[in-house]
């Protein structure tokens, strides 16, 4: 599908993502990982750890963080920032949830 910059795009239902899990949106400019916490909050990050580009979507989600499967960096889901003392940031994308539907805005 094609999208218009900055517009909200419907992605899926919240229930399509497992609780404390993640699924991937494939994209030419780099995949996007969409995460769901156990309070049903939803976040979207570039699926690329700032450390060595590990796929964050494959990590374990806990609280509002994900641990990268390659070298255990912990990334904050809302900001994309790595947890100290590691330093780095994964790009994050605006997401909203309306009546159980997830929308994403791409810059």
């Amino acid at each position: 599908m094609n999208i218009i910059k900055g517009e909200w795009v419907h992605i899926c239902q919240v229930d399509d993502i497992p609780e404390l899990g993640s699924r991937v949106i494939e994209r030419a400019d780099g995949n996007i990982a969409v995460f769901r916490t156990n309070g049903d909050k939803v976040f979207a990050l570039l699926d690329r750890c700032p450390h060595k580009a590990g796929p964050l979507s494959q990590g374990i989600v806990h609280g509002e963080s994900v641990t990268c499967p390659l070298h255990n960096w912990q990334i904050d889901l809302s900001s994309g920032e790595a947890k100290a003392p590691d330093v780095g940031c994964a790009r994050h994308f605006p997401v909203k949830v309306e009546s159980g539907q997830i929308f994403l805005a791409l810059p």
Partner: protein
């Protein structure tokens, strides 16, 4: 919510460490005010000796610069003494009369040096050795005066004496006891130490009692006179005869003190709003004067201040190291021996080496090392663990590197290493980087070093070396990693406690476990969740439900993630035996999915590397083979040789034995990976000696070995039992593995588990006790019964979402 007010009296290492710990777990709970007598921010008191010796400057030893307090929003009152605590109005009153209210008060007033009650003890030039002011006085005096007398040959006194000597003074150390450091060393080591300090130019007066300090007409010290009548000239007298917990403030406020402010295991005083940490407290009747226990206290105290209410301080085990460059001594535990103990002694006076180990009931209970302390850390660990020595006893004196350490040599090389030498091969961390981080950032624990430098944070094989470097760098302030370590930052419970709770309280879900054990985080973290998942599944088979989200990606996707995010697929090939049809299908799959590499693994299997995640289910379907479980904390492979079928040396059908074992153990989850091997004769072509369970056929039956490991550190498997029939092999091997599954901690290989419980324990349960063995074996078969092949389940549609992208965007 309005913030609570926390007032800290004492701006030293214990108080500030507590605040740091508190800020880390509850950054917004308190408005914090800190009072400190000294006009300096928190500095590392342990490093005063290197400052005195001219090896470091004051600025090098500041732990928290003023900017740290500002950034943390702390109201810091330096050079401001608290004169009174008003417990009724809940406020502290300072010298200048100002009042500061508190909701919680933390007393960390430290200790004061003990001053001998002799005439002249108040003369100008008589000082103690406690803070930077004393240190500066000594440096200043050394510049203009000649003669110094140090009263007290303990750790502090000797460090002061050494520093003053290096600054050019004539130094005499006066000591009451027969030998130096009598509380840290035995007589032989104490005499060796004295000898080597004499060679450095120090003079000693042993067994002398100070009677008077004599002053001149200006009120300055000029000499010291002793009971024996001897008098020596002195321009400076340093008293280092001990410390007293500084309890004056607390006592005046009516807080119960007895040789220290008496605190509970939560570091709470008799006034529940008031906590105390550090050298000023008395915990279970002990007042500590070294830094390591203070930090342990700080952690617990912060936890309670944060109102988390978990964690107890149970007292500390201490070791000693003298911070005089070039003198290596170490002691810990009951090094003087006690009733019923025996000693192993190595004495080589010519090269200045003396080592004494004290053993009781097959446990190391004390160590005293002089001249060569490289194994101090290792002995200290053995001491704290209280491990049964067994065969280790014969080699223990020769150090860790001589204990069958065939894999990773040189855990005790830390001293000889150059700064540019690599310590951590996984993350490329050099010794210099670690030492710098320890000094610059004020690190005291292995965990801190791991976090900051990444050394020892991957495979962990250099942990011993990193610990050694830490020990050498920070000396007595080194904090041993506690033996009963908490699983992770989400809890203070250790693996054993969690396993027990799950078993005894029939916990079946993650949520009930976290609730019951009061986890700090809502749903754990990447460290504890997989462990809990395993404990639930292994304790309650067929009852607890597997949570895929609590599994590492490899176990969730049933394939091994590679560095580029693709996966590797290893189909099951029992005993390493395959056939033309399987090989043809593997070849076809490799072509169809353009698999970049096909490789034979170390476990006699075939690996298809570089498979895209969305292709996994199709690849499995086309292969038509079961999962080889090469990705999990689970049964991996049973390696075999060709045995009696073809080999002219073979004594039994080892191939079939391997296939039978692999069939029996199919789909088995375990604390860590489990590898087996079956060899058809003692030539052992299947390398059974480095497997978790190794089976070697002999003419009259089968020999079973357990606890081998070919990985990070090569461990040779230990002989368990010899049996006659193939059925017995399955029963004994199965019972051992079930015991391991039920009792080992998550991520412990069988070798670690055996090291913890001892081989005798395993033998008692699996070999001697026939009924127990049968029960274990039955429990294994029960928990494996009916487990589906994960690949087949996913071909049928299980966990579909795992393998399909949500959406594709152009």
């Amino acid at each position: 919510m309005k913030k609570l007010k926390l007032v800290v009296v004492g701006n030293g290492m214990a108080g500030i460490r507590t605040v740091e710990e508190l800020l880390a777990i509850a950054p917004d709970m308190y408005e914090i005010t800190i009072f400190g007598n000294e006009p300096h921010p928190n500095y590392n008191r342990i490093l005063l000796s290197p400052v005195l010796a001219g090896e470091q400057d004051f600025k090098d030893i500041v732990l928290n610069p003023v900017s740290w307090y500002e950034e943390a929003g702390i109201d810091l009152r330096m050079g401001c003494a608290v004169s009174k605590i008003d417990r009724i109005k809940r406020q502290v009153i300072t010298d200048d009369g100002s009042c500061t209210p508190y909701d919680r008060l933390l007393i960390a007033t430290g200790s004061t040096p003990f001053i001998l009650p002799v005439p002249g003890n108040k003369l100008d030039g008589v000082i103690s050795y406690r803070d930077i002011h004393d240190t500066e006085t000594m440096i200043e005096t050394a510049r203009i005066k000649k003669n110094a007398v140090v009263i007290g040959g303990g750790l502090l006194g000797l460090e002061a004496a050494n520093g003053l000597r290096l600054r050019g003074m004539n130094v005499t150390v006066v000591h009451l006891a027969e030998w130096l450091l009598e509380r840290q060393l035995d007589k032989t080591a104490g005499k060796l130490l004295q000898q080597s300090l004499q060679e450095r130019g120090l003079d000693f007066l042993m067994g002398e009692v100070t009677e008077e300090i004599i002053g001149n007409e200006e009120g300055k010290v000029s000499a010291v006179r002793f009971k024996s009548g001897t008098t020596i000239d002195a321009d400076l007298v340093v008293m280092a005869v001990g410390i007293r917990p500084n309890t004056a403030l607390a006592e005046a406020a009516g807080i119960y003190c007895q040789r220290g402010i008496v605190v509970s295991d939560a570091l709470q005083t008799y006034d529940p709003r008031i906590y105390a940490v550090g050298e000023c407290v008395s915990h279970r009747g002990v007042a500590y004067g070294l830094v390591a226990p203070l930090f342990e206290q700080a952690k617990v105290c912060a936890n309670h201040l944060a109102q988390m209410g978990i964690g107890r301080y149970l007292g500390s085990f201490l070791s000693t190291k003298l911070k005089v460059t070039g003198i290596d001594l170490f002691s810990a535990g009951e090094f003087m021996g006690k009733e019923g103990s025996e000693e192993i002694v190595l004495s080589d006076p010519a090269s200045g080496i003396y080592k004494k180990l004290v053993i009781k009931d097959d446990q190391l209970i004390g160590a005293c090392l002089y001249g060569d302390t490289t194994d101090g850390g290792w002995y200290f660990k053995l001491l704290k663990e209280g491990r049964k020595l067994g065969e280790l006893r014969d080699h223990i004196m020769f150090g860790e590197s001589n204990v069958g350490d065939v894999g990773v040599q040189g855990q005790s090389r830390a001293n000889q290493m150059q700064d540019t030498d690599e310590v951590c091969g996984c993350n490329g961390v050099c010794k210099g980087t670690i030492v710098k981080a320890i000094k610059d950032k004020g690190l005291f624990t292995l965990d801190d070093v791991k976090k900051q430098t990444k050394a020892a944070s991957s495979c962990g094989s250099c942990t011993g070396l990193v610990e050694q470097i830490l020990l050498n760098t920070v000396g007595s302030s080194f904090q041993e990693t506690p033996k009963t370590k908490a699983i992770c930052g989400c809890t203070d419970r250790n693996h054993g406690e969690v396993r027990k709770a799950i078993r005894e309280h029939h916990l079946l879900t993650h949520k009930s476990t976290y609730d019951f054990l009061e986890w700090r985080t809502p749903n754990g973290c990447a460290t504890c969740r997989p462990a809990i998942n395993y404990y639930l599944l292994s304790t309650w088979p067929h009852e607890a439900i597997d949570d895929p989200q609590s599994r590492f990606i490899n176990e969730r996707a049933h394939a091994n993630i590679q560095k580029d995010g693709t996966f590797s697929v290893i189909p099951q090939m029992k005993g390493g035996v395959t056939n033309a049809s399987e090989l043809r299908r593997i070849a076809d799959v490799a072509d169809k999915y353009a698999i970049p590499m096909v490789k034979v693994t170390g476990g006699q299997r075939i690996d298809l590397l570089g498979v895209k995640k969305e292709d996994l289910v199709h690849v499995w379907s086309d292969l038509g083979m079961n999962s080889g479980h090469a990705y999990g904390k689970s049964i991996r492979t049973v390696k075999t040789c060709v045995g009696i079928e073809f080999c002219r040396f073979g004594t039994q059908n080892s191939t079939q034995m391997g296939i039978d074992l692999e069939t029996m153990l199919a789909n088995m989850w375990s604390p860590h990976k489990v590898k087996l091997a079956v060899s058809g004769c003692p030539r052992n072509c299947a390398e059974a000696g480095i497997k978790d369970v190794g089976v070697i056929a002999v003419d009259s039956g089968w020999e079973l070995y357990v606890g081998g490991n070919g990985g990070i550190k090569t461990e040779v498997a230990q002989f368990l039992v010899k049996v006659k029939t193939a059925e017995e092999v399955k029963e004994y091997a199965g019972a051992f593995l079930q015991l391991y599954r039920e009792e080992a901690y998550y991520l412990d290989r069988s070798v670690h588990y055996i090291a913890r419980v001892g081989l005798d324990y395993i033998k008692a349960k699996v070999v001697t006790d026939h009924a127990q063995r049968k029960v274990l074996y039955e429990r294994l078969l029960y928990s494996l019964d009916g487990l589906p092949d994960p690949w087949a389940a996913r071909i049928k549609g299980a966990q579909r979402h795992e393998f399909i992208p949500l959406k594709v965007i152009a």
